[in-house]
């Protein structure tokens, strides 16, 4: 697994998985039948005909050493899909497009999904990243995108499995309208904002005076030439 490319919380989750597997293996080697503190159940099976416990090595198969549904890190989700739907109604997110990436199968939890929209403006970056999200217990990751143009919009989602394998790109298309823009910055209060209008009027008057002066200079010189010798 390429830990260096994983987000911090994914790394820690992987570490927990690895620790639990290590403890389960240790318990198996010691013939421990249960590891309650870990919440792990070990099923001990003895070969048929065995009569003396302890003389026949028990074969312990760890069940639940990792959370339910978990698999070895080398396994990857069997499917990775993307869907898009537009939000209706009113409010801040009205008209936004909800992008949902779904990973199905092994190790589908804790994947960081990158969502992008396809654009034609940027030759070197045809995929404009619109957000990232991490898959939850159901293997879903969701972001809400606010379209900036009307018409077809094509989205792409991709993720990296815990094994390092690339998931996707999964694509989805939807026809949506541009949402009303809003500023992401907080406007500072402008206690003297009212004087702005007079500043503008004053500056425009100044510019007008400069224009009039320059034109008047030329006209005066020209008239002097027209009148001839004094």
């Amino acid at each position: 697994m390429n830990h260096a490319r994983q987000p911090r919380h994914v790394k820690s989750q992987c570490a927990v998985h690895a620790g639990r597997r290590m403890l389960a293996t240790l318990a198996m080697a010691l013939g421990v039948t249960a590891a309650g503190s870990l919440g792990t159940a070990l099923v001990v099976a003895a070969p048929a005909g065995a009569t003396a416990v302890g003389t026949v090595p028990a074969v312990a198969v760890p069940v639940g050493a990792v959370p339910a549904g978990s698999h070895p890190a080398t396994e990857r989700p069997s499917a990775f899909t993307l869907s898009a739907r537009q939000l209706a109604g009113t409010g801040a997110h009205a008209g936004g497009v909800v992008l949902t990436a779904r990973a199905v199968g092994a190790n589908s939890v804790g994947l960081q999904v990158t969502f992008s929209v396809k654009v034609t403006q940027f030759e070197y970056a045809p995929l404009l990243q619109v957000g990232t999200a991490t898959t939850g217990a159901s293997g879903q990751a969701t972001v809400t995108y606010r379209p900036t143009w009307n018409g077809p919009q094509e989205f792409v989602a991709s993720a990296q499995a815990h094994s390092g394998a690339q998931l996707g790109p999964a694509t989805a298309s939807i026809s949506a309208g541009a949402t009303t823009g809003f500023s992401g910055t907080v406007e500072a209060s402008r206690p003297d904002g009212a004087i702005g209008r007079w500043v503008v009027v004053g500056l425009l008057t100044l510019v007008a005076c400069v224009w009039v002066t320059l034109v008047a200079v030329v006209v005066r010189v020209y008239l002097t030439m027209r009148t001839g010798p004094a």
């Binding site: 987000p7 911090r8 960081q112 034609t120 403006q121 940027f122 030759e123 070197y124 970056a125 404009l128 990232t132 999200a133 991490t134 910055t185 702005g196 503008v200 500056l203 425009l204 510019v207 400069v210 224009w211 002066t213 320059l214 034109v215 200079v217 030329v218 005066r220 010189v221 020209y222 002097t224 030439m225 027209r226 009148t227 001839g228 010798p229 004094a230």
Partner: protein, 522 residues
Amino acid sequence: MRANTEAMRAGPAPDLQPVGTDDDQLLTAAMRPIVKTPRWWWPSVWALSAIVVVGIVAWAVQLADGIGVAGYNDQAFWAVYEADLVAFIGVSYGGAVVSAILRLTNAAWRAPLTRIAEATALVTLPVGMLFIIPHLGSPQKVWELVWPPYWNLSSPILWDFFAVSTYLLATLVFFYLPLIPDLPPARRWLERQGTGARANACRRLYQVLGGGWRGTERQKKVLHLSIGLVAMMVIPLAVSVHSVLSFAFASSSRAGYLETILPVYFVVAALYSGVALVVLTVAAARRLFHLEAYIHPRHFVRLGFLLVAFGAAYLYLSFTEYLVDGYSGTTDNASWVRQILVGRYWVPFWFYVVVAGVLPLLVMAIKRTRTKTGVVAVSALVVVAMWVKRLVIVIPPATEPLLKSPATPVGNLAGTWGTYHFTWVPISITVAATAAIPLLLLVLFRFVPILPVTEMKELGSEPAQADVGVPAAALPAAPVSPEWGAAALLGRHAVSELGTLPGTVPGNPLSGPGPYQRNVDR
């Protein structure tokens, strides 16, 4: 020439009306580009025009395929066009302001340079203004910037429009007024010696623009007052225009742009690169149109001192900007300063420091390199390095990541820096704009005299005695005011360092007996 020398002895400001002074050597030199078509002229015009056409094609490709073909992306939203806009408008200030300052300080040595300097300002300003079109990406909406129902009075781009258009008018007037006294003698000269359709067109043009000039005392008085007034207006206008241009950066909330030093910074940078371009233009005109008798190598050395003064000021302002931002230690400012000094932008930044910061100082400090060749060479480097410096101003703050990423919860600067990719499109457009400047100058000087004949006569900027064959001793001495001109501008020591002019007492360049020598340092 003897008659001309006699006229100069009689007193300054001879009326150009009397026949006999029109067809002198000075007027002939000034009219040479109009009546003579050198062998290099048409090939040069065609080559420069071809480069301009390539730039127009590149712009058409950008219109068709989007601004992404220029290397722009969501993490590099301002790049080469904004740098071009600042750089090209900036160089236009050099010509106008240098001419205005030298006029107001009555530095007589300016005379042979003013027409070329003002013409440089006149052609570079419209070329620079045009960069707003590819920069905005959608030219069909440019008019909405300046049309009252749509304009945004709180937008610095609109302020730029007001400032630059006002400055363009001032530059045009500043070019036209000193031209007026030259037009009647030029027209008469063409009537005697010019033939062909263009000569006829020039004569008609001169008649319209200055046909009524008779050189009367009243006309001279009005004209001198008008030129003085416009010269006084040009300087604050130039300062205001480039500071307003910086508002587009300085009034934003982005680290690296939000700098109170930027207005001053921009003005000094404009003067610095502008003087460098004037040096190049004057050198090219001197060589191509054979003006060696009027534009002396010491003109270049004096311009070199101006250049190095602005360069030192700009170097100091650069140091101040990075010191303050880096010293403050705020995360966002320290980040881009680090990227510029030792990070991904260190190559262009240190290129500027070495080429436009240190090298001009060395060239002008060392007597061996303080020559015309040295000044011209360093000016060429300064023009390039100052364009690179504009890129350093524009691109790093634009590519700095500001969005907080869930993958990097440690802060909003832990994201990925954007990258600007140069493509053939902006390079072609930039080169085309660069080619448009000499092209426009070549065309302009096919229609107007390249030297300010009347002004040079008034200031006594005739060819040096070695050129016209008049012994220096034959001319009367005149009182010299060493407080003016180069002495005032550069200091006594610097003036003595310039060496002696032809016909002067060795070691004392201000003791020359001839009118050219007397006045060149006035």
